[in-house]
C-alpha cells in the first residue's frame, strides 16, 4: 500500500498587488482583475510533502485545489515541482463559499481519495488570512490536526513527528495517521521546478482546458493518461448543494467599506537640521518623550 499525501493548495489573488477594480459591487472579490499565484504557505506544505516523498519510494503526492477553471495552473505548477497528480474541484455552485462551506467540499474530495495518510496544507491563504480551512477540514474528516508545522523530522508507517512553530516557541508532537497538518511560513521554501517534470507535464490539462485547445490532444492523452487533470463538480462529490456556496455559508458580508482616511492636520516638514531640532524640542517640552 502506498503512503498517500494530499496537498491542499489554493490559487490566490496576489494581495500585494491590489488595484482599484479588485472588488465587485456586491463586495466579493473580482479575481479576474488580479494576478493569481500559488498561495505561499501552500508551497511550504508541498515542500514538506515532497521531502517525505524523497525518503519513501512508496509515497504518492496528490495536489487538490478548489477554484475556477484557471486554478488548474497551480496543479500543473505542483506537478512541475514533484507532485504525482492533481485534481481541481470546480463548480459555479461553490461560488461565495465561506471557510465552512469550503472545508465541506474539500473534505468530500479528500474522502474520494481514501485511503490517505496525510492531508497537508498551508496555515492560511494570503487573500483571507483566516487559517480556518485546515482545522475545519480536519474536523469534517474526523481526524486529528497538527497546525503550524515547520519540520517533519520523522515519518514511519504508523506515526509522524512534527515540529510546530508557536508564538512563544517550538513544540514537537508525535501523532498517528491519518492526520491533517497545516504548515507555517517558517518551513523550508518549496523547491523550484524540475526541468524533466516540466517537460513531462507541460501538456497536462483539465477537460475544460482541452476543450479550449486548438490542437488535438486525443492521441497524446491515450499514450500518456497521466496528463489528465480531473475536474470534480458538485455531482462528482455527491455534495449537498445546501451546504455549499452562499447557502452553506453561515457568515455573510454585511458591509464592505473602502478605506477612507480620517485626515489629521498633518504638519509636513523637511529633514533639515532646523526642522528636526524644533520637532525634538517640541516633543521634549510637551513631555511626549524625555
Amino acid at each position: 500500500m502506498s503512503f498517500r499525501i494530499i496537498v491542499l493548495a489554493k490559487q490566490v489573488p496576489d494581495t500585494r498587488n491590489v488595484g482599484k477594480d479588485a472588488m465587485k459591487a456586491d463586495g466579493t472579490v473580482n479575481r479576474a482583475a488580479l494576478p493569481a499565484i500559488f498561495n505561499p504557505e501552500d508551497l511550504n506544505a508541498l515542500e514538506l510533502a515532497l521531502r517525505i516523498k524523497d525518503q519513501r519510494k512508496d509515497c504518492e503526492v496528490i495536489v487538490l485545489t478548489m477554484g475556477p477553471f484557471r486554478a488548474a495552473e497551480i496543479v500543473r505548477e505542483a506537478m512541475y515541482r514533484g507532485a504525482d497528480r492533481g485534481y481541481l474541484i470546480t463548480d459555479r455552485k461553490f461560488a461565495g463559499s465561506d471557510t465552512l462551506a469550503t472545508s465541506y467540499a474539500i473534505s468530500l474530495a479528500v474522502k474520494k481519495l481514501e485511503p490517505y495518510n496525510l492531508v497537508i496544507s498551508g496555515r492560511q491563504a494570503i487573500d483571507g488570512d483566516t487559517a480556518q480551512v485546515g482545522p475545519q477540514t480536519a474536523e469534517k474528516l474526523n481526524i486529528p490536526q497538527v497546525t503550524y508545522a515547520e519540520e517533519i523530522p520523522e515519518v514511519t508507517d504508523t506515526h509522524i513527528v512534527i515540529k510546530r512553530r508557536l508564538e512563544l516557541g517550538i513544540e514537537t508532537v508525535k501523532a498517528p495517521m491519518p492526520l491533517a497538518i497545516t504548515v507555517h511560513s517558517s518551513a523550508p521554501d518549496c523547491r523550484q521546478r524540475v526541468a524533466k517534470l516540466l517537460m513531462k507535464y507541460k501538456h497536462a490539462r483539465t477537460v475544460t482546458e482541452l476543450q479550449n485547445e486548438t490542437k488535438d490532444y486525443t492521441e497524446l492523452y491515450n499514450q500518456r493518461p497521466y496528463l489528465q487533470i480531473d475536474e470534480w463538480t458538485v455531482d462528482d462529490l455527491h455534495a449537498d448543494v445546501e451546504m455549499l456556496g452562499l447557502s452553506g455559508s453561515p457568515t455573510k458580508v454585511k458591509k464592505i467599506e473602502n478605506v477612507v482616511f480620517a485626515h489629521k492636520d498633518s504638519k509636513v516638514m523637511t529633514s533639515s537640521d532646523e526642522d528636526i531640532n524644533n520637532l525634538m524640542k517640541d516633543l521634549i517640552e510637551s513631555h511626549v518623550i524625555g
Binding site: 479588485a22 472588488m23 487559517a131 480556518q132 482545522p135 474536523e139 486529528p144 513544540e171 473602502n258 525634538m280
Partner: protein, 340 residues
C-alpha cells in the same frame, strides 16, 4: 437571549493570558449591552483558584475543566470539552484569542457546530440586519469587523442564523479593564471524566521549548516602527539606536517582517499586535490599513517617509519628508542636545 462566552488561555506561567483578560473586558461590555451573562471557559491542569483571576473582569460564570493532561493545550481534548459546554449552554456569542491556540481551536469548534467564525476581528459591536430574500429582521447581531483583502477594505461580517456567533481577536486589540475587584461569579466544575476519552490524546507532545515573550512592545510608551522602506536589516539598526536613546521599543510592519528586517514578535497590525503608545514613529512605513489597524490609536504619530503621498501621512501629526538614514541620526543628535 443566551450568554456570551470567552475561552480563556493559560500561559506558561500558569496564569490567565492577557489576551483572554482583554476579551473578558470586551465580553463584559457586550454582555451588559444585551443584558445577558458573561461566562468564561478555563481548561487546564491544577487550576485551583483560577476564578479569582477572572471574576474582577465581570465574569458571572466560569466553567473550569481541571484534569491531568489538559496543560499544555492540545486540540482534541480542549475542543471536546468546549463542544460539550457549548452544546449544553448554547452561547449567543463565543470569542477566542487569535493566538496559536485560539486559531487552532476555534475553527474546529465552528466546523463541528456548523456555525460562522470570523478571524482577527479589529472591532465587535451590535447592529441589526434585514434579510431581503427571506424578509427577516435580525436584532442585535454581532458585527464582526475586520480589514480584508490586502487591507483595501473593511468588512463587516455577520452570522444571522447560526449560533454561537464566533470570532477571534488578536492580543492588544481590546483593552484590559477590571470591572470591579470584588465582583463574584459562580464556578461550574466540568465533569471531564465524562467527556474525555483515550482517542482525544492521540497527539502527544514530546518536547517543548517555550519562553515568555521577551519582546513586549505592547506596553511601551514610545514605539519606533520600521517598514519595508527602511530598506535593509542594517538600516533597521538605526531604529534601535533611536529606541535606546528614547527608551522606546522597536516595532515593524508585516512587509518589514516578511523581508526579514525584523522578528515576527515585533509585528504591529492586524496580524501582529495592536499598540497605543504616547508616540509612534513610523519609519519607511507606507501605512496599509492592516498596519494602521494596529497603531492608529497612538496619541501622536510621526511619519518619516520619502513619499509625501504615503497613506500613513494622512494619520500622522508630523510628517518628515526624508530618508531614515538622514533623519534618525539627526533626531538622536537633537534629542541629546535638547534634553538635559
Amino acid at each position: 437571549m443566551n450568554n456570551i462566552f470567552v475561552y480563556c488561555e493559560i500561559t506558561e506561567d500558569k496564569v490567565i493570558a492577557d489576551v483572554s483578560l482583554e476579551l473578558l473586558s470586551k465580553g463584559r461590555k457586550l454582555a451588559s449591552e444585551l443584558n445577558v451573562k458573561l461566562e468564561a471557559v478555563v481548561i487546564g491542569t491544577d487550576l485551583k483558584d483560577v476564578e479569582a483571576q477572572i471574576f474582577p473582569y465581570g465574569v458571572d460564570v466560569v466553567h473550569v475543566a481541571d484534569d491531568k493532561n489538559l496543560f499544555p493545550y492540545t486540540t482534541l481534548p480542549h475542543s471536546a470539552i468546549v463542544l460539550e459546554i457549548f452544546k449544553h449552554e448554547k452561547p449567543e456569542i463565543a470569542i477566542f484569542g487569535a493566538t496559536s491556540i485560539g486559531r487552532d481551536l476555534a475553527p474546529r469548534i465552528a466546523s463541528a457546530l456548523r456555525c460562522g467564525l470570523t478571524a482577527d476581528c479589529t472591532s465587535l459591536e451590535f447592529g441589526d440586519h434585514f434579510e431581503n430574500k427571506t424578509q427577516t429582521e435580525y436584532k442585535n447581531l454581532l458585527y464582526q469587523i475586520r480589514p480584508a483583502f490586502g487591507g483595501n477594505i473593511i468588512a463587516t461580517i455577520i452570522n444571522p442564523e447560526t449560533r454561537p456567533q464566533m470570532a477571534t481577536v488578536r492580543e492588544g486589540v481590546m483593552k484590559k479593564e477590571i470591572l470591579d475587584a470584588k465582583y463574584k461569579g459562580k464556578v461550574k466544575k466540568v465533569n471531564t471524566a465524562a467527556i474525555l476519552k483515550d482517542e482525544h490524546f492521540v497527539v502527544q507532545i514530546i518536547e517543548r521549548h517555550m519562553e515568555a515573550s521577551k519582546i513586549n512592545i505592547k506596553n511601551s510608551q514610545v514605539i519606533i516602527a520600521g517598514g519595508y522602506g527602511v530598506g535593509s536589516k542594517e538600516n533597521f539598526k538605526l531604529l534601535y539606536d533611536l529606541a535606546d536613546v528614547l527608551g522606546a521599543q522597536v516595532g515593524a510592519s508585516r512587509a518589514a517582517v516578511d523581508a526579514g528586517y525584523s522578528e515576527h514578535e515585533r509585528q504591529i497590525g492586524q496580524t501582529g499586535v495592536t499598540v497605543r503608545p504616547k508616540l509612534y514613529i513610523a519609519c519607511g512605513i507606507s501605512g496599509a490599513v492592516q498596519h494602521r489597524a494596529g497603531m492608529d490609536q497612538s496619541a501622536q504619530i510621526i511619519s518619516i517617509n520619502t513619499d509625501l503621498n504615503a497613506p500613513i501621512n494622512h494619520i500622522a501629526d508630523f510628517t518628515i519628508i526624508g530618508s531614515i538614514t538622514d533623519v534618525i541620526p539627526k533626531m538622536i543628535k537633537y534629542y541629546k542636545a535638547n534634553s538635559k
